[in-house]
Symmetry: C2
């Protein structure tokens, strides 16, 4: 199904960059014929998956894609199980709670409940984040398949994101090891300056973490003391979700 696959490669660009995209730039970037890109995009448009700005003629994500994507949440067991516990966690801590998963070395927040202590709106559900710049990524590697970390370091490296992003492989391995030992990881302004996060793993009975549960805070608020204070509530919530997901036990906190 070559035609469909290449059409999806085009669509992927809209998943990665959230900005209007034109035929020519997509054709160049992907090395596909302009005429072909145009036909693919107009078909997506005619079916509601893309929307074409009538003035600029550029394309952006359409309503059907939106409706489809939201069914991920609705049909997803993880989401159904996590939401109620997350709400409690947010009430208790005041911070925003977020559940994240990893695919192909990218982390994505699948579910968030906003807290009172509001960060800025730029960390958002549904955005792909680099694996090495998020607390969720560190935890997922610490509790993921053992060769995954090596593989990612080799194929992706540790690209610069912000001034605080870890770009040294030794250091990153240490951070992941510590996460495995302690059962949590922190990132401080490594994805987005001013925004920090604290994450713990979620298990479903399989040996590896399926997701993480995290709290997002303004960077200046997430001191080590505050992290210590938040950790028990976070772990309690993670245990609750994990047990409901089918895990026999939750190995951290009590």
């Amino acid at each position: 199904m070559k035609a469909l696959a290449s059409a999806l490669r085009i669509l992927d660009e809209f998943a990665l960059r959230n900005e209007p995209l034109g035929v020519t730039e997509l054709a160049e970037r992907l090395g596909i014929q302009k005429s072909n890109v145009s036909k693919v995009l107009s078909t997506f448009r005619d079916n509601g998956y893309l929307y074409q700005d009538p003035i600029t003629k550029k394309y952006l994500v359409g309503l059907n894609a939106f409706a489809l994507g939201n069914n991920y949440i609705n049909s997803n067991r993880l989401s159904r199980v996590s939401l109620p516990s997350m709400r409690k966690l947010v009430d208790d801590t005041g911070h925003s709670a977020v559940v994240s998963v990893m695919q192909g070395g990218d982390v994505i927040h699948v579910l968030a409940v906003e807290g009172r202590l509001f960060v800025d709106g730029r960390w958002r559900v549904g955005l792909w984040m680099p694996y090495h710049a998020t607390s969720a990524g560190k935890v997922l590697l610490a509790f993921g398949a053992p060769n995954q970390l090596d593989y990612l370091l080799k194929t992706r490296g540790l690209p610069y994101v912000t001034a605080k992003t870890i770009t040294d492989q030794r250091k990153f391995r240490n951070v992941v090891q510590k996460a495995e030992k302690n059962g949590f990881a922190i990132s401080r302004g490594e994805t987005l300056p001013g925004s920090s996060a604290l994450a713990v793993p979620l298990f479903d009975g399989s040996p590896f973490a399926v997701a993480t549960l995290g709290l997002i805070c303004p960077e200046h608020l997430l001191t080590d003391e505050e992290a210590d204070r938040l950790l028990p509530a976070l772990q309690k919530c993670a245990r609750e979700i994990s047990l409901r997901l089918g895990a026999g036990t939750y190995p951290f906190g009590h």
Copy 2:
């Protein structure tokens, strides 16, 4: 682009029904060859747009579709403009605020901010709702292209949804006319028993409403008096958003 279009028809089923779908049932429902459906679905799967349950072998929405869909919100001007005002509205009223649009006679909630007075989780962002069973649909028809109502009544009718859904065409026309006169509409348990909503139009400078702003409440709370009490805040918020969207004036409230 026939192949892609038919692949998207298959994908549409996942946008409409949020449940695992199998090859055979899709092939039958859409009148497409089983082998073809299988190839299409596996291609979507290989590209992350669908996920295949390893046990049941059925397919459901995948992470890439989720990421793509969320970019609708991120790249959408309506969302960016509305969110801050919605947060204030929720703080003021306690109810959940929601922005909805219509496409092809179906209403979809594109954005919601949860309130303290919590309804149940079954009204959800990203789900298609019938035009006649929501306050948003009534408002969008009242302030939409004039022939749209006739067209929808002729082609779609007023199917039964709940015991309270309006199924009489005269009555529905009256409700829409009243919405046009008053600048708001209400639905009480017409989509989902126990859940009511109050909606007003949003304008962007074009003659027709582009979206609605609504408040979702538990049905027993949305008395006529409560609606009267909520309306000024709702209209103030709608005016704020409309002006920022490019409307010259907002014709209701003050």
